[in-house]
């Protein structure tokens, strides 16, 4: 063994190298404050290892990036672990970077003769931030897509060469396959390669000058191995445990696949860029223009950082530097805190985050079906999904008047943001609905409520006002019309006898069964038969209707040719609340089969594409997997 080691040493001189690496002198003994650099090297090693393995399964193109990440995360063994380690170590690296920088500044380790090393460190910091930025896009999910769009638009705002820079980064004027191949080449090749080169220089120069010791007489001197190595290893273990805990507890997020045609109102940059995001949102910064907030100010901060070794030469320079460092860090922490606070107190943002989360779950659910993911990418799964598109279409087209369980069906309140003066405070006013809440539309409860409490069901119409502030004529037609009076005058029928209550349930069951493709809704055939009799004859166990349903409404029962009643006074109830009824009604509610001249609802037939109408209707009747 010894002979072999000597043979190898003769030819490589590794013993001396190893000795130099391990037995570096540390005056004053090993200390916890020296661990930050080592933890950074450690997290970078995690990134290289996990990154290379992720590379074996990642596929950079707009139709396969999200899909391959989804596959890594959900189908490959330990994919969640490797991706989680990579995801959270990246964030740990940013935190450790800030700690390392602060420790260097506080201990004055940037001062002569270590200026060059400090500058090398600043370059390394830029590379690490660049790695974070490029990595954020690679999963090609909504979150990464929109956050990165902002970054490249900022790039485009660079004076003179902005447009060229942006096109170089994007691989063209718009995002596409080449945006991903370029970002991937940067993220997995160019940036880490550069980082390794600078890291070698950084460590070599560090070893040349030795560690910066604030008080060498604190304790007897020690060597790097094993005293400092032990402290470094324990610190690395703490980092690893933190990263593992986050991986197991939270897991690396994967939002819904990027869709340039869908707004993503939960868009935020990665948390360590939130301070910049918040800074850019201040009205006064906005006024000064994007280059000021996003390029000049951060550029100036970096320039001051780079100047610390020069400032440090003056007598008061070091104190000034430490002060600058503290103010900057406090500023960043303060802005980050403010951004988080604002978001936590913004119900609209919170609703968006919830919606984004539900969509992420939904697309996984769809992707896990046996048919897999179509070749045009997972984004088409959501684009053709009634459960996803229905609420979006409702929010855009119906929610201006209607509500869905009190909100716009995507979980957002319907609000008006009022800003009385320019740059003044914004006020958020929740709008009153001017048409009925459709959260339970077509359900037995809904049908029962229309029969027994017509005015109450449609009470939101009272919010439609004319110029004088009175209830609008169109609403009065509805709220004081024949059905409203019928509902009021027959209210006592239902309460007068328990048998009549059962009769009401039968009538409701019959009408509800009409919305189902086969007329089957879970009620017994007898109940449906009894309900139909009441609908046709108006005869109740105790008493009878003064006016029968079919005196105003027509209905062609499921599977029959004959129409009960005639098309005329009231809306037709054929397939009421079902796909066909809804499709026709939404297309043109003013048709004589429906509200006729009483109608105040826009005809959506010409406004929505057939496919959109189809998705909306299928969502409303629950026709989706």
């Amino acid at each position: 063994m010894n002979a072999l080691i000597n043979w190898l040493d003769d030819r490589t001189g590794f013993k001396k190298l190893l000795h130099e690496a391990l037995y570096e002198n540390i005056p004053g003994g090993a200390r916890w404050r020296y661990v930050w650099g080592s933890t950074l090297v450690f997290t970078f090693s995690i990134q290289v290892i996990t990154g290379l393995f992720l590379w074996t399964a990642y596929s950079p193109s707009t139709t396969t990036a999200w899909e391959s990440v989804y596959y890594i995360q959900n189908h490959m063994q330990y994919g969640w672990l490797v991706r989680g380690l990579h995801h959270f170590s990246a964030q740990a690296m940013t935190v450790l970077l800030a700690l390392h920088l602060m420790q260097v500044v506080i201990d004055g380790a940037y001062k002569a003769p270590r200026e060059i090393n400090f500058w090398l460190g600043l370059i390394l910091m830029q590379i690490v931030l660049g790695l974070g930025l490029t990595g954020y896009l690679l999963p090609w999910d909504q979150k990464g897509y929109y956050a990165t769009r902002v970054s490249t638009e900022i790039m485009g705002a660079t004076p003179v060469v902005g447009s060229q820079l942006q096109q170089l980064a994007q691989g063209g004027p718009e995002y596409g396959h080449h945006t991903l191949t370029r970002f991937f080449a940067m993220h997995a090749g160019i940036l880490p390669g550069t980082l390794i080169a600078f890291l070698v220089l950084h460590i070599a120069v560090f070893r040349r000058h030795g560690i910066t010791v604030p008080d060498p007489d604190r304790a007897p001197a020690a060597t790097f191995w094993p005293d400092q190595v032990l402290k470094d290893a324990v610190a690395c273990l703490a980092v690893l445990v933190t990263v593992l805990t986050l991986t197991i507890w939270k897991g690396a997020e994967l939002a819904a696949p990027a869709d340039p045609s869908e707004a993503y109102s939960a868009a935020r940059p990665e948390w360590y860029f939130l301070f910049l995001f918040q800074f850019l949102r201040f009205a006064w910064v906005e006024k000064l223009g994007i280059p000021f907030g996003a390029i000049y100010v951060p550029g100036a901060l970096m320039a001051i950082l780079a100047a610390l070794p020069i400032i440090g030469r003056w007598r008061a320079g070091h104190v000034l530097n430490v002060l600058f460092m503290m103010v900057m860090m406090l500023g960043i922490a303060g802005l980050t805190g403010l951004a988080l606070y604002n978001d936590a107190n913004d119900p609209d943002f919170q609703a968006s985050v919830k919606q984004a989360h539900l969509e992420a779950i939904r697309v996984e659910e769809l992707a896990k079906r046996p048919a897999g993911i179509p070749l045009e990418g997972a984004v088409s799964l959501l684009r053709n999904d009634p459960k996803t598109q229905g609420p979006r279409l409702f929010a855009r087209n119906c929610a201006p008047c209607h509500r869905y369980d009190g909100h716009d069906s995507t979980g957002h309140d319907v609000v008006k943001i009022v800003q009385k003066e320019e740059h003044g405070p914004k006020e958020r006013l929740v709008e009153k609905p001017t048409a009925t809440d459709l959260g339970n539309f077509g359900s037995p409860e809904w049908i029962k409520s229309v029969i027994t409490d017509f005015k109450g069901t449609f009470a939101a119409l009272e919010n439609v006002k004319d110029k004088e502030g009175n209830v609008a004529e169109s609403s009065k037609h509805f709220l004081e019309g024949e059905m409203a009076s019928w509902s009021t005058s027959h209210a006592n029928h239902w309460r007068s006898d328990p048998k009549n209550e059962q009769a009401l349930a039968d009538l409701v069951a019959f009408l509800y069964s009409q919305s189902k493709p086969l007329g089957k809704s879970g009620s017994s055939d007898e109940a449906l038969k009894r309900g139909r009799q009441i609908f046709e004859t108006g005869k109740l166990p105790v008493g009878k209707f003064e006016t029968n349903c079919i005196d105003c409404h027509s209905l062609q029962p499921v599977g029959e040719d004959k129409l009960l009643g005639e098309v005329g006074a009231g809306p037709t109830l054929t397939n009421y609340g079902g796909e066909r009824w809804l499709r026709e009604f939404l297309s043109n509610a003013g048709h004589e089969k429906y509200y006729g001249s009483n109608n105040a609802m826009p005809a959506f037939g010409g406004r929505l594409l057939d496919q959109e109408l189809d998705l909306l209707v299928r969502w409303m009747v629950g026709d989706y997997e």
Partner: protein, 188 residues
Amino acid sequence: MSQAHLELHEHPGEPRRGFITHVLAAGIGLLVGTVPAFAGLAFFLDPIMRKKKSGGGDGFLKMPVTLEALEINGQPQLVKIIMDRVDAWNTYLNQPVGSVYLRRTDKDKVVAFNSSCPHLGCMVDYKAADRIYFCPCHTSAFGEDGTKQNDIPPRGLDTLDVDIRNGTEVWVKFQNFRATTPDKIPVG
């Protein structure tokens, strides 16, 4: 320079603490380094740990040629195998996944060869003039009955199970086999 400190470190007063420090430093250092490496390695081994899903059914596919269309002892007919193919997250419907040579040897007997060369997996050509199957990669040659004609391939062409159904339909059980082995071993 370090020599002096080494001596200083190995102070006779605290050999025990020194030993523990060495062990802990090495142990924890090794631990933090191997966790990400092992996680990555386990991830990388996914393909060999993955259980293959069975296709369902008896595995026989109906060929697009009928028994009558094949001449007895005539020229072999090359037929593409069309199947659904699952590739990671995508499912491709009705994709060509391979090809077979069909040759009728008797009134109601058809022989099917997988067109992959058992030598190193290239696709073999049928040379009508010489009445042999010939591999363009390393010049493996096989007779019309699939037996090897030189020492390059380890075995003859791989025959596939054939079933004649309803008198005229030709059904083949398509399978791929490992190359290079003298024995016929199914892939996957």
